[in-house]
Amino acid sequence: MYLHNNCIEPGCWNEAISTFNEQGEITETPGYCFEHHPEKEKITQDIYNYIRNHTKIVGLNASGITFENIDLTDKRFYGCFFQHCKFINLHSTGFRSRMSMFDFAIFSDCNLLQSNMQFTSFAGSTFSHTLFTGSDLIQDNFNGIQSYQSAFDDADLYNSRFVKAKLIDTSFRNCNIKKTVFMGIEQQNVSFKSSNTREAIYGETDSELFMGSTTVGEIQ
């Protein structure tokens, strides 16, 4: 993961999205955030091209951009920022992500089958008709997500967190949910069939450590 620059628009404290040199590679040159970028269409196209032409993508900041009808099959993202992005009709098999941030993003009609995403954050994101079937989603942050008609079936969700998530018509069938935290969730028609629910954490009583309790020892 690279350190990112601030937007050069006076008074703006957002992070700048990635800029590219003549060879199409990411540079650390200061730039604008997407909101203040003077050439929104060009930078969007540059980022599309960069993703299309690279399999391993490191330190890309594409926050705020809308991705539509893009295929991320076998793409590998390391330390990338996609906060507040919109992903529409995205299709992939074997998508891979490490240390990437998808906070407050919107996923609509997306298939992320057999993905491998570890140490990745989707906090506050919205998933509508999105499939993570057969994925490894280990130690991921799904706190505060809103999920509608989506599926995490056959996924490994070890040590991931769904605190305060709103889950509607969402399935977690045949998942590994050991140490997965579902505290404070709002659920409607959610299925955990064939998942190891006894190993998951659904409330404060499941884990006194959770609220900084005064009655238990320290987390080591």
């Binding site: 993961m1 906070d103 919107i106 706190n143 991931s160 900084g212 320290e218 987390i219």
Partner: protein, 197 residues
């Protein structure tokens, strides 16, 4: 600068390596266990390990220091002098240090332990066990818990909302997400409506 993440399987703690590609120097945050992969990361690109930052004196965050000191000669930065004896640079209060050609901010944040520290590199905060996604660290008394919550609000939640939090355990998060979804502290903040257009 690049940051690498390693999961310590024995204590399920997170260890981070930060490398400065310009000076070819590296530093490690919370070496819970030194694995061949961590050594490989340092050695493959010929980085010089110049510093070790410790967020607090718990075994799952410090166990690898002995191994590191057998191989390299890094300076250990921590708030507790017992971590590496005479070799420790003891940090107190809040301030800035320069290691591996990088400017690193540090903030004392007692609560989980008296020696808890948070390190800031750019817009990334390494929070140790003080706060992680959806939870705060465990404490030994109500007084400590209140101190921890107060310190988190004052020193962490006052940062920009897109500041990334890299915790000692569990997945990464951001200040904005914790304000909204951390049950212990979210009650003070209002969840804005999510646009669906």
């Amino acid at each position: 600068m690049k940051i690498y993440f390693h999961l310590n399987l024995s204590g399920f703690s997170n260890c981070y390596i930060i490398v400065n590609e310009n000076t070819k120097e590296a530093l490690i945050i919370d070496p819970g266990k030194i694995t061949p992969e961590i050594i490989e990361h340092i050695e493959t690109d010929n980085y010089k390990l110049t510093g070790v930052l410790v967020t607090h004196n718990h075994e799952s965050h410090t166990n690898g220091i002995k191994t590191l000191l057998k191989i390299y000669t890094p300076v250990i930065y921590a708030a507790d002098s017992e971590i590496a004896g005479n070799g420790t640079v003891v940090l107190k209060g809040d301030g800035v240090i320069s290691i591996a050609g990088l400017t690193i901010g540090y903030m004392s944040l007692p609560g989980h332990t008296p020696d808890s520290m948070v390190f800031k590199v750019g817009r990334i905060l390494f929070t140790g066990d003080s706060i992680s996604s959806g939870k705060i660290g465990s404490t030994s008394s109500n007084y400590s818990k209140n101190t921890l919550i107060s310190n988190i609000k004052m020193k962490i939640l006052s940062q920009q909302e897109d500041t990334v939090l890299m915790p000692g355990h569990g997945p990464p998060t951001t200040v904005g997400a914790e304000k909204l979804y951390n049950p212990v502290i979210a009650q003070d903040y209002v969840i804005p409506p999510i646009p669906l257009s």
